[in-house]
Structure formats: structure tokens, C-alpha cells
């Protein structure tokens, strides 16, 4: 915001004719967020495993434990992808209401599946449609009425959060049907090669991987994806090239809502109950999702962001958190998770600033 790019600075730096291997590696780590995240991920895994073997952890930090901890990574990854799409759309794009959408769609899913006797698939469809509609409200405010996204989604955060609580008098839905949904978070053995590998939570295959693949396809392999990056980079230029900036941006918010609707089904399964505060209790789900997206290299100014970065950031945070949980007893673990997340985010952000000045930007 208050920064000016110091272009002159870059020109003054001494440039080696033939960059050495070290400087190439440094440049790759600094400019390619994916390389940095992969390096951090390896460091965390080795460090934690070493601590585990040395007996400093209260449990074993082994592949089984790592695979099991993916249960929490599923919704985080999906919501971070939702933020990716919205933030890339530019003009200050952000969705503070994503946790509130999860709460509200989760309740409606709970009503349909638990109370109204709808079939599972019909209920999921309803959750997705409602999520899309709530996203469309955000999209209409931001894209067509030109509200700043932060404000529009702050307003809808309050509205959706309140509605989720009011429609059930703040009482969760825990009917038999809904409770049995806990099954969607169980762990399974991967077929064929699975006997050698740890059991993986089924949600990774039914929720996370499909979302990752679909979003990647949409962003990297469709004209819509190209348009989204175009309007995020410079919406005036995009307008002049004949793109429909408003509808493109509108759809980004709808996509985020749809993903949140899908995630709410998984989260309902995780809690074995549709809770009206599922996405809004405590710090809510929006702030961690935005944090992971930013950590994954999504530029808050729009137009820059990759699915692989978000997935790696999710894994980094999940496995770092899982390790921290073992390293401390009692409540201390969850507290140190906050510290780690904060430090990693600030470190990544400062590094981005440095990269900006040294190499003129990162990808």
C-alpha cells in the first residue's frame, strides 16, 4: 500500500555474468514460492522426524500419523483454494464470509439430510447450490455494484453467520443420518499399492483431490482461467481487450461459494453434526484459509497465484501443526501452532518484499 517499488535499486546491484549454482538455488527459492514451500516442507518433515526418533515428541511422527492428520487438511485446502480464486480476481478480492458460508450451508445440508429426509446426493447438491447462491450475493456486490470486497464480504459474514444461528435457534442438528456421516472422514487403504502405505483419510480422495484437480483445470486449462488472471492483473486493460470483467469476477465469488458448500458437507461429517457455528466459532475458518492462500504465494493484489502453492502451503501448515501438537503437552500445542502460523506467514511476506526488490517479483 504505501510502498514504492525501488526499481532503481535493482539496477545498482552487481550482476554476475555467469550465475553460480548457489545463486541460482537462492534465486529459485526466493522467486519460486513452490520451491520455497517444498524446501520448508522437507525441513519440517526431517526436523520433526528427528525429534520423534530422539524421543522428544509425545507420540511418533511417522507416516501413519502424517496421513491421519490430513483429516484437517481437507477442508483447509478446499477453503484456501476458494480464497485463491477470489484473491486472484483482483481489485482487492478477498472473502471474509467463507467461514460463515460453511456454517449456513452446513445447517441447510443438515436440515435436508437429517430432518427433511432428502437423499445424501440431493442434500449435497442443495449445499452446493446454496453455497453458490451465497457466493453470488458476494459476487453481485463486488463485481456489479463495485463494493470493495473486504466490505462486501464483511457484511455478508455478519449476515450469513447470524442466519445460520437464527434458523436453528443456535442448536446443532445431530439426527441419526447426520451422525452417521462421520464415515466420510474414515481412513482407507489405497487399493493395489496400499498395503505398503499408511491408510489415508477417504476425504482426501472424495473431497480434496477432486477440488484441487477441478480448480487447477479451471485456472490453468480454460479460457475462464486465463480471463480471471487477466482481470486480476489489470482490469482496465482486460476491459479494453473486450473481456467481460464483471461477469468473470462475479463467477470467481460463485466458485468460492460452491467450494465452501462442498466443504461444509465434509465439516458436518467431521463434527458428526451440523453446527451453526462450524465455520465461525473462535477465529473462524476464513482467516486461516486466507493465511494459507497467502502463504501459498497468492498475491493479495490479484493476478498471481498457483494451485500447487496452495496445496503445498496446506501440507506445510498441517504437518507442522501435527508435529507441534506432539512436541508439547496439553493445550500448549495448539498455542504454539498459532505462533508457528504467524511466524511462517510474516516470514513469507517479508521474503516476498525482499524478492520484489531484488528480482522484481516472484511467481
Amino acid at each position: 500500500m504505501t510502498m514504492t517499488p525501488h526499481k532503481a535499486h535493482v539496477a545498482n546491484l552487481p550482476r554476475a555474468e555467469e550465475p553460480s549454482l548457489v545463486s541460482r538455488v537462492v534465486k529459485a527459492v526466493l522467486t519460486q514460492r513452490i520451491v520455497l514451500l517444498a524446501a520448508l516442507l522437507v525441513i519440517v518433515l526431517i526436523w520433526m522426524s528427528a525429534l520423534g526418533m530422539g524421543g522428544y515428541l509425545t507420540g511418533s511422527y511417522d507416516p501413519d500419523y502424517l496421513a491421519g492428520s490430513l483429516i484437517d487438511a481437507v477442508p483447509m485446502c478446499m477453503l484456501a483454494l476458494a480464497e485463491l480464486v477470489v484473491i486472484v480476481s483482483g481489485r482487492g478480492g478477498i472473502d471474509l464470509s467463507i467461514g460463515a458460508i460453511v456454517s449456513l450451508t452446513g445447517m441447510i445440508f443438515g436440515f435436508a439430510y437429517g430432518r427433511w429426509g432428502w437423499t445424501f446426493w440431493l442434500s449435497v447438491l442443495l449445499a452446493v447450490v446454496v453455497g453458490g447462491l451465497l457466493g453470488a450475493i458476494n459476487g453481485a456486490l463486488v463485481a456489479y455494484m463495485r463494493f470493495p470486497a473486504l466490505i462486501a464480504t464483511l457484511a455478508s459474514y455478519y449476515a450469513f453467520k447470524s442466519l445460520a444461528l437464527v434458523i436453528t435457534n443456535s442448536i446443532p442438528i445431530s439426527d441419526a443420518n447426520v451422525t452417521k456421516l462421520y464415515g466420510i472422514t474414515r481412513s482407507i487403504e489405497i487399493p493395489v499399492i496400499g498395503s505398503q502405505l499408511p491408510n489415508v483419510p477417504i476425504g482426501v480422495f472424495t473431497f480434496m483431490v477432486p477440488s484441487v484437480v477441478v480448480i487447477w483445470l479451471v485456472l490453468a486449462r480454460t479460457t475462464y482461467g486465463r480471463r480471471l488472471f487477466a482481470i486480476g492483473t489489470n482490469d482496465v486493460a482486460a476491459e479494453w481487450t473486450g473481456l467481460n470483467v464483471r461477469s468473470t469476477r462475479f463467477v470467481a465469488y460463485v466458485i468460492a461459494g460452491v467450494i465452501a458448500g462442498l466443504a461444509s458437507v465434509y465439516i458436518t461429517g467431521q463434527f458428526a453434526s451440523a453446527r451453526p457455528d462450524a465455520g465461525t466459532s473462535g477465529n473462524g475458518l476464513a482467516l486461516p484459509a486466507i493465511t494459507i492462500a497467502v502463504l501459498g504465494g497468492v498475491a493479495i493484489t490479484g493476478g498471481i497465484g498457483r494451485v500447487a502453492g496452495v496445496v503445498l502451503a496446506t501440507l506445510l501448515v498441517t504437518w507442522l501443526d501435527a508435529g507441534i501438537l506432539l512436541a508439547f503437552t496439553g493445550n500448549d500445542g495448539t498455542q504454539f501452532q498459532l505462533l508457528a502460523l504467524g511466524l511462517v506467514l510474516i516470514f513469507a511476506a517479508l521474503l516476498n518484499g525482499l524478492t520484489q526488490r531484488r528480482y522484481g517479483g516472484s511467481r
Binding site: 500500500m1 504505501t2 510502498m3 514504492t4 482487492g92 478477498i94 471474509l96 456486490l141 455494484m145 463495485r146 463494493f147 470493495p148 473486504l150 466490505i151 462486501a152 464483511l154 457484511a155 455478508s156 459474514y157 455478519y158 449476515a159 450469513f160 453467520k161 447470524s162 442466519l163 444461528l165 437464527v166 435457534n169 443456535s170 473462535g282 477465529n283 482467516l287 486466507i290 493465511t291 497467502v294 493479495i300 493484489t301 496439553g330 493445550n331 500448549d332 498455542q335 504454539f336 498459532l338 505462533l339 502460523l341 504467524g342 511466524l343 506467514l345 510474516i346 511476506a349 517479508l350 516476498n352 518484499g353 520484489q356 526488490r357
Partner: protein, 345 residues
């Protein structure tokens, strides 16, 4: 930047050439802006309707808690308004509130601290945390929203460590002078509200008539132009975050004082968004360059009036957030329509 304008205005128009605090008069927005008049109107209508429909609303037993509840939000809103005017934002308010709140509460319980010591510690600590934010944002050249997302996590960690997974119990009545009880009022007005009003008055003057205050608007309008015009952008930005930290520290005292003798870890939760809501309902532009602290106070009053009204009408209290959301949308929508009309004219 505005000073340069003032000196270039030809002396043939003496009225616009007169300056006060280095700022040409003609460049100032009206003392009470259109958005603020609208808010005053809405508040007046709400108060009349609520006092007619619920007999309890107009009583002092209802108005005094309302003013007590508005004070900390509006106080933090003063700092947040300045930050948002410069084009920044602070998500870490809840974390700062937690750290300063629990520290002052522990000082009271464990060390039997006096009122003055508790307030000073809370305010100083808030300023320190604000300094962390300010240094990272002003000199780290990273967008404020990202840094304060990060520091929000850090501060919550620090706060929870101080809490040590327990509630703070048996808080003595040392802070009662800022509390909800009889000791916290003079002539029926809560002291916390009066203190807030004084801070708002100073901030209003500072933002409108002091050169440094005008600089904040220049930075929010265009930081590059502001720097070229000689504004020390980094120092001004740093100052807004430190100031916000100080005010959050004071607000923490109000919140501890108006609570029960037990303080739990939910002290800050959701307040960062409540403060931002009050600021934007008050007409401050989230993109920077425009805004006023007076509007923020009315914004905070509106939010609290809605919450109080919903409770007294016997509606579920969760419903008040729905109205807050709608109020934000209407307030910002009205602002956008006025902007659109200005551009058409």
C-alpha cells in the same frame, strides 16, 4: 501536499488563501459529512422507534450499558479510522486486546496493581504491539492485511500463554471507575464514554486541522505523490499503528472493567471485525484517503443500538449480526451511490 496548494492560490481570493494549521480552508470536507448526517438521522429514528415500542429502551438502565459498550469499540475505531485513511488495515486488534486485557487483569490479581499502573501497563503494552505491526508494515513493505493476519496469530499466542489455559479469576474492583457500576459514572454518564469522547474530539481536530493529520489523507490518496510532496510516509504510517495499539490497550481496560470478576480467552474474539464494521458504517473509505472519526463513533453507536434493540424486542440476539451486515451494505452502498453521482456531475 495541501500546503503547496495553499501557497499557489492567488491572493485575489483571500478567503480560500487563508490557512489554518497549514491547510487551506476550502480544501477541508464539511465538519459533519453527509454520511454522518444520514447516520444521525438513522440513529434518531431508531431511538424514537425503540423507545415507543419497548418501554425499557429509553431508561437509564438501558442507555448507560449501551454507552459503556460503545466506548471501547469507538476508541479502537479512532485508531482503525486513521489506519484505514492511510490505506491500511489492522486485523490484529483482537490479539492486542487479548494480550493487554489479560496482562492488566493479571497485574490486578497477582500484584495488586493500582488503577494507574494497570492502565499504564495496558496502554504501553498495546503501543509496543502496535509498534511491531507498524515497523513491519511501514519498513517491511508488505501489505498491512498480510502482516496483521500474521501478528494476529502471534499476539493470540502471547495472550494465551499469559492466560496459561485458564481464566483469570477474582479480578478486584480497582478498575470500577471505568466499569458499568455506579462508581463508573458521573451524573449518569459512564466515564469510559467521556474519555472516549475526549479522544475522539482530539482525533477529529488532528485529522482536520493539523498538518500531520492531513498527511494521513494524502498517504491514503496516493502514497507515491505524498512522498514526493515531502510527507514522511513511513513515519506517519508507523504512528497510526502505534496509536491504535495504545488505544486498544485503553479499550482493554474498559472491557476488563465492565466485565465480571472473571476474564476468559474470548475477550478479543470477533472484535477486530466489529471495529472495522463501525469504521466503514461511519463512512470511512476502505480504499483510503477519506474518512472521519466522528462517523466511526456513530457507526459504533448504530451497531450497539441495533444489538440492544434486538435484545429488548425479545428477538434472538444472534439476529443483530444480520442487521449489522445489512447496515454495512447500506452504508457503503450509499457512499458508492454518492461517489457515482459526484462523478456524473
Amino acid at each position: 501536499m495541501t500546503t503547496t496548494n495553499a501557497t499557489t492560490i492567488p491572493p485575489a481570493t483571500p478567503s480560500s488563501g487563508r490557512t489554518r494549521g497549514g491547510v487551506a480552508r476550502g480544501l477541508l470536507p464539511p465538519a459533519v459529512t453527509g454520511q454522518e448526517w444520514v447516520l444521525i438521522g438513522v440513529l434518531a429514528i431508531l431511538w424514537v422507534v425503540l423507545s415507543l415500542t419497548t418501554p425499557a429502551f429509553a431508561s437509564s438502565g438501558s442507555i448507560q450499558p449501551l454507552l459503556s459498550a460503545v466506548a471501547p469499540i469507538a476508541l479502537m475505531g479512532v485508531g482503525m479510522t486513521m489506519i484505514i485513511i492511510t490505506g491500511g488495515i489492522d486485523i490484529s486488534v483482537a490479539g492486542v486486546l487479548m494480550v493487554t486485557g489479560v496482562t492488566s487483569a493479571k497485574m490486578l490479581v497477582d500484584h495488586d496493581a493500582s488503577l494507574l499502573v494497570a492502565v499504564l501497563v495496558s496502554v504501553a503494552l498495546g503501543g509496543l504491539l502496535g509498534l511491531v505491526n507498524g515497523l513491519l508494515i511501514a519498513y517491511g513493505r508488505v501489505h498491512a492485511i498480510i502482516i496483521t493476519f500474521g501478528t494476529a496469530n502471534l499476539f493470540q499466542f502471547v495472550g494465551r500463554q499469559i492466560f496459561a489455559s485458564k481464566t483469570v479469576n477474582g479480578i478486584p474492583s480497582t478498575l470500577d471507575v471505568f466499569g458499568r457500576g455506579e462508581a463508573g459514572r458521573t451524573l449518569g454518564v459512564p466515564h469510559s464514554f467521556v474519555l472516549m469522547a475526549v479522544v475522539v474530539a482530539i482525533a477529529w481536530w488532528y485529522l482536520r486541522h493539523v498538518q500531520h493529520g492531513r498527511h494521513l489523507f494524502a498517504i491514503g490518496g496516493d502514497p507515491v505523490a505524498a512522498r514526493l510532496a515531502g510527507v514522511n510516509v513511513e513515519r506517519r504510517v508507523l504512528m497510526t499503528y502505534v496509536l491504535t495499539g495504545l488505544l486498544v490497550g485503553m479499550a482493554a481496560v474498559f472491557i476488563v472493567a465492565s466485565g465480571t470478576s472473571t476474564l476468559d480467552q474470548s475477550i478479543g474474539s470477533g472484535r477486530e471485525l466489529a471495529v472495522i464494521a463501525a469504521v466503514v458504517i461511519g463512512g470511512t473509505s476502505i480504499t483510503g484517503g477519506r474518512g472521519s472519526v466522528l462517523g466511526t463513533v456513530f457507526g459504533a453507536l448504530l451497531v450497539q443500538t441495533v444489538a440492544s434493540g434486538v435484545t429488548q424486542l425479545g428477538w434472538p440476539s444472534e439476529l443483530s449480526d444480520l442487521f449489522v451486515g445489512v447496515a454495512i451494505a447500506i452504508a457503503v452502498g450509499a457512499d458508492l451511490i454518492r461517489k457515482w453521482a459526484r462523478e456524473r456531475a
